[in-house]
């Protein structure tokens, strides 16, 4: 069947097959043309999209780690981690080559609306510099206070309480007050707060325990879960 493509179908082909061939070829041509259109657009916008994504990332990072504190090209100085750690990419902030802070991506899969993605800075002193939600699908007006842009309390947003929290404290500390831990939550939406608090505690403890190994790893490499603990 495929050998006949592009040629006039010989007369011995059954009529039913011939009548099916023309629309099939038509569909194939349309598919080719519009796939080419998409491929062309993808190629034409790729660099701009990468630049815009990077700028957006830096906007979030600037909120949790002031630019004046480090002098290296932060986004270029990255390593990766993988499960069982709930840490994805890690960037290393240095000043004059000396370690200043780690900025890493973490996530919680137990949000009310599914996955919540976070970005966190962890100072060399083992304390969290700040945390921001970079993606979530929590209920608008209820659980979305985890994102300070949606938090009704602009003066003292909920996520601000993690700034200065000690990552080396035991997991029992990294629980919302309702469950006997140390962190506030808003009445009516405990699931979102619980998920964020747990993910932050777990990931920060993981990163803090492997701090020196993470700073020493060559850029672009992968940090193992069983990297040297302190």
């Amino acid at each position: 069947m495929t050998t006949e493509t592009g040629q006039t179908p010989p007369a011995r082909l059954p009529a039913s097959l011939r009548s099916a061939l023309a629309p099939a070829l038509g569909l194939a041509v349309f598919t080719l043309v519009f796939t080419a259109l998409m491929a062309f657009t993808y190629d034409a916008t790729r660099e701009r999209i990468a630049a815009a994504t990077e700028a957006q990332q830096m906007r979030l990072i600037d909120e949790i780690l002031p630019r004046g504190q480090y002098d290296n090209a932060l986004l270029k100085d990255a390593v990766t981690a993988a499960p069982p750690a709930n840490v994805k990419r890690i960037w290393r902030a240095r000043r004059g080559g000396a370690p200043i802070a780690l900025v890493f991506e973490t996530f919680a899969d137990d949000g009310y609306g599914g996955r919540i993605e976070l970005i966190v800075s962890l100072g060399i002193d083992g304390k969290i510099g700040g945390a921001r939600v970079s993606f979530h699908k929590e209920t608008p007006g209820l659980g979305d206070y985890i994102d300070p842009a949606r938090d009704r309390d602009k003066a003292k947003p909920w996520i601000g309480q993690f700034s200065g929290a000690d990552a080396t404290l035991p997991p029992t500390h990294w629980v919302i007050k309702k469950d006997g831990g140390a962190f506030d939550y808003r009445a009516g939406a405990t699931i979102s707060a619980r998920a964020v608090t747990h993910a932050l505690g777990q990931s920060a403890a993981w990163a803090a325990a492997r701090r020196d190994a993470i700073f020493a790893a060559p850029a672009g490499s992968h940090v193992d879960a069983d990297a040297q603990r302190e």
Binding site: Y42, A52, G141, L142
Partner: protein, 230 residues
């Protein structure tokens, strides 16, 4: 394209065959994004672009689209154009892209786009079809704007929240003051159904009122034009 066509297309799109109120097509984005005006109008305008482009493409290519395969070809065209739009938004309007997130690809599944390709663009010239797409899209935009405004106002007591993502420097209007407790139902999906239901009821009431006024009572012979629309 005559003035008569322009008027007819505009009247159909904006009122008589309004996608949101009369055809009730495209409920998916209507209910999902209309939690506030900014989201609703942004996605509405993206839909206008998608409909104008898809109607233009379908009407320009209609001679080459075999009847049997027209639906797959329409969907192919719409999906490809929406993908192009999605990439363009990501590259050139990145903050708006973050706001609309997953909803731009969903324009593909908005059946009003396919409905206009099949019912109008496949039978009319490129200019008329593009205009029809724009008018149908604008018909959706004003319904989305009204629905978004009502849900935002009732749900959180604000208007235009998130406007700073589109026009930096502007901020939301607190209509009911800071201590408005909020009415969550309006923001949740059920609230979208309730308020859309009220809008459709108002639309039908206005149409019924008009029909009653236009209908000259002593002439039962000619059935009124507007009654057939429903």
């Amino acid at each position: 394209m005559r003035i008569q066509h322009i008027k007819e297309s505009a009247r159909n799109g904006l009122w008589r065959q309004n996608p949101g109120l009369a055809q009730i097509l495209g409920l998916c984005p209507i209910l999902a994004v209309s939690t506030n005006i900014v989201n609703a109008v942004s996605l509405g305008l993206a839909t206008v672009m998608a409909m104008a482009l898809s109607n233009l493409a379908v009407s320009a290519l209609r001679r080459w689209i075999a009847y049997e395969i027209r639906i797959p070809v329409f969907i192919l065209i719409i999906a490809a154009l929406v993908t192009v739009l999605d990439l363009a938004f990501n590259a050139y309007f990145h903050s708006l892209y973050l706001l609309l997130g997953i909803f731009i690809p969903l324009i593909t599944t908005n059946c009003i786009v396919l409905a206009r390709a099949e019912a109008f663009a496949a039978r009319n010239g490129a200019l008329e079809s593009t205009f029809d797409g724009i008018m149908m899209g604008l018909g959706l935009v004003w319904v989305l704007a009204l629905l978004g405004a009502l849900r935002e106002l009732i749900g959180s007591g604000t208007l235009l929240s998130g406007i700073d993502m589109v026009v930096p420097g502007l901020s939301a209007i607190q209509v009911f003051g800071d201590d408005y407790p909020g009415f969550l139902l309006a923001v949740l999906p059920p609230g979208a159904f309730f308020i859309l239901g009220c809008l459709i009821a108002a639309y039908n009431a206005i149409n019924a009122h008009r029909a009653a006024r236009i209908l000259p009572e002593p002439v039962p012979a000619a059935p009124p034009q507007s009654a057939a629309v429903d």
